[in-house]
């Protein structure tokens, strides 16, 4: 009995040191040397200044230039990567229906002036539903193609050029079968900014 208690206490102390400190610190050391950019959150820089992370979606819906940008998926957290939570409204909740209806109407209001035939039933599912992380960096291809009309018009770019940039910033299915293709909104918008500046 006494021996068991002693073994238990020693075991948990040793494990805390080895698995709780040495292991994560060693992985941090190796990771920082081998994959410095990835280990630090894949930051994206413009003119030497960090403006975001490749993996983290951000808000493009406010400010004077909102119409020039592709818009991220709706987020309940205000795109906060440091205080995340789910929407947590179930499939039959009236509050969810109200929320999603608002997302649909916002989307139509933004895109319809540039695409008069757009109907609610054309709005892609990802464009009017909140993502899981609240910082989904991607939108669907269908969503991006609808927004392309607006962005091309506002920026005075040929629509084909915008479509080409969408394709350049699309991550396909890994190995052809894993997951769904998605367009990285931050990278696409930065590519557009670079294009227009030129």
């Amino acid at each position: 009995m006494r021996k068991d208690i002693r073994s238990a206490v020693v075991a948990i102390v040793v494990m805390t040191i080895v698995l709780g400190l040495l292991y994560p610190l060693a992985i941090t050391g190796i990771g920082q040397v081998a994959f410095p950019n990835a280990a630090d959150g894949s930051p994206v820089k413009v003119d030497g200044k960090v403006v975001g992370s490749k993996l983290i979606g951000q808000d493009f819906s406010t400010g004077p230039n909102a119409k020039r940008y592709f818009q991220s998926r709706p987020s309940v957290t205000g795109y906060a990567p440091n205080a995340t939570f789910f929407n947590n409204r179930g499939p039959n909740q009236a509050t969810l229906a109200v929320q999603q209806r608002r997302f649909v109407l916002d989307y139509l209001q933004r895109e319809q002036p540039y695409d008069p035939d757009l109907k609610a039933s054309d709005v892609p599912s990802d464009a009017a539903t909140t993502s899981a992380s609240g910082v989904d960096p991607q939108i669907s291809l269908a969503n991006a193609r609808i927004q392309a009309a607006r962005v091309a018009k506002v920026r005075g770019l040929p629509i084909d050029r915008v479509r080409a940039l969408i394709d350049e910033n699309t991550d396909g299915r890994f190995a052809g079968v894993l997951g769904d293709p998605g367009v990285n909104v931050l990278e696409l918008n930065l590519a557009l900014d670079a294009e227009t500046r030129r």
Binding site: M15, S61, A80, A132
Partner: protein, 576 residues
């Protein structure tokens, strides 16, 4: 639904099935004490550790001695983690200056991580310091997984051995699990995750101006090193509140696929380890096939259900699949597969919001957990739970044909069956009683977020998940009043935390002790050679019988409750 989605599910099954005998054979060598490659490097470490503990590798215990060591180790773990949580404000690596945890949250969290549940009544990045995540939570991710696997190996020895009363040495099994199985995979796996963008850093948090002129703050931490053991050990507690949907935890569809495989790798591999240890690989495959049948059925239903829209989407005029609470990179296919993987295994990590699933899609994870976490289940705990069901199936078959039931040549008698019944219906009864208390009292009801049947489902899911040590959640449950370091919580929160904490401890240690007692009862029994009248337990007929027994005992208990919650919602477009 699309071809790629189904192809991904098939690919997953093919790789898992191919890994099972390889990983299984390796683990059989580890626990059989046979020479392995890593011996040369880790052998001295292993022997040094035994010396520190004051044990010898060959000093074996009977089931009572083994159980005592398990309980003392788990108690020490509970105390250590509780202490770290309660004092985290004075520890290093606390860039946000977080305060220490309140007693109720710390109890629930300590119970949660020690029992391999990883139910989280807190948001990781806003409540836990980096030190707590590493030295407190992640240590238990290793330790609780190690305990589960060690106990399973001891139980299998009970089936495999033919005399004496010894079923192994707990410290030996625990040490070898961590040194030779968990740690090597974690080192390789975490570096792979970092290479794909999962963060591993102590810098920051960094605040910057976004492209459109807003601000954003990136909070980094030792994520990759914790992410891999969280899946490999079927723990499931996320570094971030939104778990593996957070791109910093699960950056690409490739990492997602590897994480899903690492959740099931050990529970699946152990079926092959079992087969080798009892001297008949077919016995292991029979169990693997029974598990896979139940798993695949669930995946298909979730994927089909999520490809349809919800009642709320109908009302909003939206068409298409249900992307609410899902990430674009995973889409409906990878999110559905992950939801099934994480709930057949008692992992509980999520890459999509479980509460946002369609009604039918959400019913499957709940049903998966209700099966008692024996379809793959937790590392170790899944298979020893499954072996109790195997004995029950053998007993039922024996009753049907009027012969003394036997399994692997050992007679199954009254003592074993009494234990098996306690082990198989104990947790379902616990779930029903605790859920009833939670939905019938004002303290419990105050934790509910959603209206109508969904609110009931939230409560049922919360206690099913905690008592079965899964840890996934319909996270609206208390989610809206989530306590954090600066909020000592209300009585409502305290009630849910205590009820949940006690459920997790009972749900973990009752079946574990039963399984060890069964091993103790079986270990000394002589093996009678199989005769003409012996029922074979490695045939398709037995697989069907086993699947039937699991559905009968575990699922039927919950059908009325499932009807009241998700099923009734799936049949209506009514909004609540």
């Amino acid at each position: 639904m699309n071809v790629a989605g189904w192809a991904q599910i098939v690919l997953f099954l093919v790789i898992l099935t191919a890994l099972t005998p390889l990983f299984g054979a390796y683990m059989a060598r580890v626990y059989g004490g046979e020479p392995i490659v890593l011996d040369r490097v880790l052998g001295p470490v292993e022997r040094g550790f035994y010396r520190l503990l004051g044990t010898r590798a060959e000093a074996e215990q009977d089931w009572r001695g083994y159980a005592r060591a398990v309980l003392f180790f788990s108690a020490a773990s509970l105390a250590a983690l509780y202490l770290i949580l309660r004092t985290q404000s004075i520890h290093p690596l606390n860039p946000l200056n977080l305060s220490s945890g309140p007693w109720d949250l710390s109890f629930n969290t300590a119970a949660s991580f020690v029992t391999n549940t990883n139910w989280q009544y807190y948001g990781g990045e806003t409540t836990m310091t980096n030190f707590t995540q590493m030295a407190g939570l992640a240590v238990q991710n290793f330790a609780s997984a190690g305990v589960g696997i060690a106990v399973l190996i001891a139980v299998v020895r009970g089936f495999a051995r033919r005399d004496g009363s010894a079923i192994g040495n707990f410290w030996y099994d625990l040490t070898r699990t961590i040194l030779y199985v968990l740690l090597p995979v974690c080192i390789i796996g975490s570096l792979f995750l970092v290479s794909q963008g999962v963060v591993q850093s102590f810098s920051g948090p960094d605040t910057f101006k976004t492209v459109a002129g807003g601000t954003q703050t990136l909070f980094l931490g030792p994520v990759a090193s914790q992410e891999i053991i969280k899946e490999l050990g079927t723990n499931g507690g996320g570094f971030y509140n939104v778990n593996a949907s957070m791109p910093f935890e699960n950056s690409t569809t490739f990492t997602n696929f590897v994480l899903m495989l690492s959740i099931l790798a050990i529970p699946a591999g152990l079926t092959a380890t079992f087969g080798r240890m009892v001297g008949s690989r077919r016995q292991g495959w029979a169990i693997y096939v029974a598990m896979t049948v139940l798993f695949v059925a669930g995946v298909a239903v979730i994927y089909a259900a999520e490809s349809h829209s919800t009642a709320a989407m109908h009302a909003a005029g939206l068409v298409g699949g249900n992307m609410e609470g899902k990430e674009q990179r995973f889409g409906i296919g990878s999110s559905s597969l992950f939801a099934a993987v994480t709930t057949v295994a008692s992992c509980g990590a999520v890459n999509a919001a479980m509460e946002s699933l369609t009604a039918l899609g959400g019913a499957i994870p709940l049903a998966n957990i209700s099966l008692g976490e024996v379809v793959f289940g937790g590392v170790g705990s899944g298979l020893y739970g499954m072996l109790l069901f195997v004995l029950l199936a053998v007993f039922l078959a024996g009753l049907m044909v009027g012969r003394t039931p036997e399994y692997l040549g050992k007679k199954i008698e009254a003592r074993e069956i009494k234990l098996v019944v306690l082990g198989t219906i104990g947790v379902p009864l616990l779930v029903l009683v605790v859920t009833a208390v939670a939905v019938a009292t004002s303290y419990g009801k105050a934790s509910i977020f959603n209206a109508g049947p969904q609110g009931f489902t939230e409560s049922l899911y919360a206690y099913t998940s905690q008592a079965n040590n899964n840890g996934s959640a319909f996270a609206g449950y208390t989610g809206f009043l989530q306590p954090n370091g600066n909020n000592a919580g209300s009585l409502t929160v305290t009630f849910s935390q205590l009820l949940g904490g006690v459920s997790m401890l009972l749900g973990r240690f009752l079946p574990m002790l039963v399984a060890l007692a069964v091993a103790g009862a079986l270990v000394g029994k002589r093996v009678t050679p199989a005769g003409l009248g012996t029922m074979r337990t490695d045939t398709p007929v037995f697989v069907v019988l086993l699947v039937g027994t699991i559905l009968l005992v575990a699922l039927l208990t919950f059908v009325p409750a499932l009807l009241l919650g998700p099923i009734v919602q799936s049949m209506t477009n009514q909004l609540f």
